[in-house]
C-alpha cells in the first residue's frame, strides 16, 4: 500500500508539472464541448430564425402552386424567391443558381398543375358518385390525366439529412393539397345533400417522452453532447498516459523500476489510480460546465436530476477502459512518435464507431456490429441509458462490466507483453 501511494504521488507530481498534458486533459475537452454545443445550437437557431432561401419557379399560377408557396412561407423556415433583378426566374436560371451553390434548393411547379389536378380529381369524384347512384349521366369524361411532377433541385453540397427532410415535407404538402382538392370537390358536388365535410386531418402523432418523477425528459443538444464529449475526453487520456509510459522507457526509469522489489502491477496500479482521479475530475468539470456555464451562454442546461451517482459510475468504468487502452499503447510503443498519433487516431476511430458522431442505427449493418465492440459505444450507451432513457443500475450493469473487463484484458496483455520483453 505504501508503494502504491508513493507511485500515485509520483504520477500526480509528474502530471501537475506537465503543462501540455494538463491542457490535453482539461482545457481541450472543455473547449471542445462548449464549441460543439454552441455550433449545434447555432444550427438549430439558423433553421428556426434565419430563413433558408428557396427558389420557387411557378409555371402553374394556380391554386396548387399558391398552396405550395403559402405552406413553404407558413413553415417559417424558408424565404421564397421567384424573381431576380425585377423579373421572374426561369427553370434553367434557377437550376444554375442552385448547382452553383448560391441557393440551397429550387422548387419547380409544372404548368397546369392545378388545372390537371382538378381534372383528375373531378374524373375520380364523378366516377365514384356515378357508381353510388348520385352522379349525373351527363357528366363529361376527360379521359386519362397525365401524372405531374414537381421538380426539386438541390445544391450538391447540401447534406443528405436536409434533402431528405425537405423532400418529405414537400411530399406531405402535395398529398395534403391533393386530399383537400378531393374533399372540396365532394363538398361542391354534395353540398345540397350532406353537411360540410371536415377537412382536418384525423390522424396525428404525439411523441411520448420518458418521465423522471413528474418531469418529462426532453432530449436536447446538451443532453446528447455532454455525455458524448465527456466520454471522448476521458478516452483522450490515452495520449498523456501512453506518453508517460514511453517517457519512462526513454529516460531509463523503467529499467530502474524493473529492478525494484515489487511487481510491475504496482507501477500500473499507481498510474491507473492517478489517471482515474483525472478522469473523474474531467467528468465533474464537464458536468459543471453543462449545468452552470451552458445557461450563461444561452444553451440548454444539462439536466442531471438525481442521476449523478449513476453517471459517476459510468464515468468511472469508462475511465478504467480508457486507462487500460492507454497502458497497453504505452507498453507496446517504443517512441512518443508512435504512441501520440496512434493514440489520437485510435480514440477518434473508437468515437466514430462508438456512435459519438453518427448514431449507430444509421450505420451500415457491418459497422453496427463493429460499433458493438467499441468501449466508447458501451460507455455512451450507458450514459444515454441514464440521462435520456431514465434507466437504472440493472440496465447499465452489463455495459459497466464490459468496460471493466476491457480494462482487465488491456492490462493483462500489457503485463504479458512486459514479461515477454524480458525474455527476448
Amino acid at each position: 500500500m505504501h508503494k502504491l501511494w508513493a507511485s500515485v504521488k509520483k504520477e500526480s507530481l509528474l502530471l501537475l508539472r506537465d503543462a501540455g498534458a494538463l491542457i490535453i486533459l482539461f482545457v481541450m475537452p472543455l473547449a471542445l464541448i462548449i464549441t460543439v454545443t454552441l455550433i449545434q445550437q447555432g444550427s438549430f437557431k439558423t433553421l428556426s430564425n434565419a430563413k433558408i432561401p428557396v427558389l420557387l419557379i411557378d409555371h402553374d399560377h394556380g391554386s396548387v402552386s399558391k398552396g405550395i408557396r403559402e405552406n413553404l412561407e407558413g413553415s417559417g423556415s424558408f424565404d421564397i424567391v421567384s424573381e431576380k433583378e425585377g423579373r421572374l426566374l426561369t427553370e434553367k436560371e434557377a437550376r444554375n443558381e442552385v448547382f452553383s451553390g448560391r441557393y440551397p434548393m429550387a422548387v419547380i411547379v409544372p404548368e397546369n398543375l392545378s388545372e390537371d389536378l382538378t381534372r383528375k380529381v373531378q374524373v375520380n369524384v364523378d366516377k365514384i358518385l356515378k357508381d353510388v347512384g348520385i352522379g349525373e349521366d351527363s357528366l363529361a369524361t376527360f379521359g386519362d390525366v397525365e401524372t405531374k411532377e414537381i421538380r426539386l433541385y438541390f445544391d450538391p453540397a447540401t447534406q443528405l439529412a436536409f434533402k431528405s427532410a425537405v423532400k418529405n415535407s414537400i411530399d406531405k404538402m402535395v398529398s395534403e393539397l391533393e386530399v383537400q382538392s378531393v374533399y372540396s370537390l365532394f363538398q361542391e358536388q354534395l353540398s345540397d345533400s350532406v353537411a360540410l365535410l371536415s377537412q382536418k386531418s384525423f390522424l396525428h402523432f404525439k411523441e411520448i417522452m420518458p418521465v423522471h418523477g413528474s418531469h418529462e425528459l426532453i432530449p436536447n443538444a446538451t443532453q446528447h453532447n455532454v455525455p458524448a464529449w465527456t466520454l471522448f475526453a476521458i478516452f483522450f487520456i490515452v495520449i498523456p498516459l501512453s506518453i508517460n509510459l514511453v517517457k519512462e522507457k526513454g529516460q531509463g526509469t523503467l529499467v530502474r523500476l524493473r529492478t525494484l522489489p515489487m511487481p510491475y502491477s504496482v507501477v500500473i496500479m499507481g498510474k491507473t489510480l492517478t489517471f482515474l482521479v483525472i478522469c473523474m475530475i474531467q467528468f465533474y468539470l464537464m458536468v459543471a460546465v453543462g449545468v452552470y456555464l451552458f445557461p450563461l451562454l444561452g444553451l440548454e442546461p444539462l439536466q442531471v436530476g438525481g442521476k449523478l451517482p449513476l453517471m459517476s459510475l459510468v464515468a468511472l468504468c469508462s475511465g478504467f477502459a480508457a486507462i487500460g487502452f492507454g497502458i497497453l499503447l504505452g507498453t507496446v510503443s517504443q517512441t512518443q512518435e508512435q504512441s501520440a498519433p496512434f493514440g489520437a487516431t485510435s480514440v477518434v476511430i473508437l468515437a466514430a464507431i462508438g456512435g459519438v458522431w453518427v448514431p449507430v442505427f444509421a450505420m451500415p449493418v457491418f459497422m453496427q456490429f463493429v460499433s458493438g465492440l467499441s468501449p466508447m459505444n458501451w460507455g455512451l450507451n450507458a450514459f444515454y441509458d441514464v440521462i435520456l432513457r431514465n434507466s437504472g443500475l440493472g440496465t447499465i450493469f452489463p455495459r459497466l462490466v464490459l468496460l471493466l473487463v476491457f480494462f482487465v484484458i488491456m492490462v493483462g496483455i500489457s503485463i504479458l507483453y512486459d514479461e515477454k520483453k524480458r525474455a527476448v
Partner: protein
Amino acid sequence: MNATTENKTDAVVRIHSLSKKYREAEEYSVNELSLAIPRGEIFGLLGPNGAGKTTLISMLCGLIRPTSGDFTINGWSYRSEGEKIRKNIGVVPQEYALYPSLTARENLLYFGSMYGMKGKDLEVKVDEHLDHLGLLKYAEKKIETYSGGMKRRINLIAGILHSPMVLFLDEPTVGVDIQSKNVIIDFLKAYNRQGATLIYTSHHLIEAQEFCTRVAILDRGQVLTEGTAQELISGVSQARSLEDVFLSMVGKELRDYA
C-alpha cells in the same frame, strides 16, 4: 591468473554456465559464462563493445531472462528467490534513470519508497547521501536543471538508498567532469568499505585499474581472464597496465556492432 573462479569461497555472486542469445541474434551475447565474484570486492567487468557486459549485468539484475544456465546472489537462486535478490541489490544504470520534472528529493523519496523505506528513516538517508555527494543544497531543484555530473550523483544515490549488499554500476562515471568523477569514486570506495560488493563496468581502463580490487575481461560472451589488476598485468609479458593486458587479449581491431 584464473580464467574462472566459480569455486572461490564466500562468493556473493556465483554464475554457472550462463548464456543469453537474443531472439534475432545469430550469436550468443553471453556464452556458457561461469564466474564467482567474492564478497566485498569492487569487481570490474571489462571488455570491448559487444563483449556481453551489459547483457550479463541485465541478467543479474533481473531485467532480462537467461537463455540457459544459472546464477545465485548471496546464495539465492534467481529462479526461485528473485524477490530476495531484488531487495538486496542496487542498480545504477548507464542512463540517468531519473524523472527530469521531479526534484532530486522527490526522485529519491520515490525510489526509496519502492524499496520499502519510509518516513523519517528515508528522509534522513536521502539527506545524508545528498550531503555526502555535495547536493543537499540543490535537493529541491528539478533534475532537468542539473548538470551531467549532478545527475550522475543522484543516479548513484537512487541505487544505494536501501544499502544493497551488491551494487551494479554500469559506466557510473561516463560523461562527467573530473570533480564529479572523483566524488563518485570516493563515495563508492567508502560504500565498499562498509562491506558491500560493487560490480562495475567501464571502458575507462585506467579508472578501473585504480578503482577495482578485481577485474574480469570479457569478450564474445565469455570470461577471458580474471584476477587483480596486478595479477593480470604480471601475467602478460611486457604489459605495464591493464590497458596493455586488455589489448593483448581482445586485439586492436574495431568492435563496431549494430
